[in-house]
């Protein structure tokens, strides 16, 4: 199986060991990432229990259409990422590059929509701080909600930006023909990261946009 183009670092004995190590390393890193977001999820859970009514009221100030659209965009980007890996497995270099670029474009679309939402929150005075104003009795719980909203989606967006950068590097490497059906580990590892960022959003969407019912 070792292809002439397979690069084996000196510390490894064979490509299988190298591949498995990289994959395990990424999964361990993702466990770390879960805990990194975990601090925010813990804060969210606490304050949702402490301010249930405020969270529901504040959640309804989020734009459900844009949120759902963004979820769709991100799910699609996960599909294209998975297909990019599959194309590398089957040795279809052109397809790999095309799917990676599509993934990046979808990621950029996600960030643009997110930016639009942030802008709307800014004009609606829903950014926590001195200019924050929220009608009704729940203003301080709502401010907490929006603080968490910005912290959680902000951290997620930072991960998206990093992800787009990494996918870009991988796309260039793919275009240079660095990956073969025998060696595509960096691509697969990047794919794991991208899907993970998608999963975080899969949780953020119902937790932030879908509190209570909108009726």
């Amino acid at each position: 199986m070792p292809d002439s183009r397979t690069i084996i670092a000196h510390q490894f004995d064979d490509p299988v060991q190298q591949h498995e190590s990289s994959m395990l390393g990424m999964w361990v890193f993702l466990a770390t990432e879960i805990m990194f977001f975990g601090g925010l999820f813990a804060g969210y859970t606490v304050y949702r229990v402490v301010h249930p009514a405020a969270f529901e009221a504040a959640s309804h100030h989020l734009n459900l259409v844009l949120g759902a659209l963004n979820t769709g965009v991100l799910l699609t980007s996960s599909l294209t990422m998975a297909l990019a890996v599959r194309s590398a497995q089957t040795g279809k270099q052109r397809n790999t590059v095309a799917f990676l670029i599509t993934t990046m474009l979808l990621g950029a679309a996600f960030l643009s929509i997110k930016g639009l939402e942030y802008y709307q929150k800014y004009t609606d005075h829903l950014v926590p701080g001195t200019s924050f104003s929220f009608p009704g009795p729940h203003s301080h719980g709502a401010e907490m909600f929006f603080y968490l909203y910005f912290a959680m989606t902000g951290l997620h967006a930072i991960h998206m930006i990093a992800g787009i950068g990494v996918v870009g590097v991988i796309a260039i490497q793919a275009a240079q023909g660095r990956f073969t059906p025998a060696y595509y580990t960096p691509l697969e590892v990047t794919g794991l990261y991208w899907h993970f960022v998608d999963i975080i959003w899969i949780f953020l969407f119902p937790l932030l946009y879908l509190i209570g019912s909108r009726v």
């Binding site: 199986m1 490509p15 299988v16 591949h19 498995e20 994959m23 395990l24 999964w27 361990v28 993702l30 466990a31 770390t32 990432e33 879960i34 805990m35 975990g38 601090g39 999820f41 813990a42 859970t45 606490v46 229990v49 402490v50 459900l64 759902a68 979820t71 769709g72 799910l75 699609t76 996960s78 599909l79 990422m81 998975a82 297909l83 599959r86 497995q89 089957t90 025998a182 060696y183 595509y184 580990t185 697969e188 794919g191 794991l192 899907h195 993970f196 998608d198 999963i199 899969i202 949780f203 969407f205 119902p206 937790l207 946009y209 879908l210 509190i211 209570g212 019912s213 909108r214 009726v215």
Partner: protein, 99 residues
């Protein structure tokens, strides 16, 4: 290396399932179900996560170790949430109301 190559059809099926679940979760938020809104929202999110991890992330074809570390990540998150909430949920229990 993961020699397993999943068919494109599988990826597409998973993708469609994810979109259907997205539609369901949005639709469910228009039905007043009280506390079950959050239960449904989270159940659907967990289902979506399973789909993404098992198929897009190839966990279903991966070795035991990957399963272990996927579990470890979520288990430790559960520890963090459960023991933190052990404080916040019981703080106002009788007979120590508010103390």
């Amino acid at each position: 290396m993961t020699s397993h190559i999943a068919p494109v059809k599988l990826y597409l099926t998973v993708f469609i399932a994810l979109l259907v679940l997205l539609a369901v979760t949005v639709a469910a938020s228009y039905v007043p179900l009280g506390r079950f809104n959050v239960v449904i929202g989270l159940m659907i999110a967990i289902t979506k996560t399973f789909l993404v991890m098992l198929f897009f992330m190839h966990v279903s074809y991966s070795g035991r170790l990957v399963w272990v570390y996927v579990g470890v990540g979520f288990f430790w998150l559960a520890i963090l949430l459960a023991l933190t909430m052990a404080d916040f949920l019981t703080r106002w229990w009788p007979p120590f109301l508010g103390r």
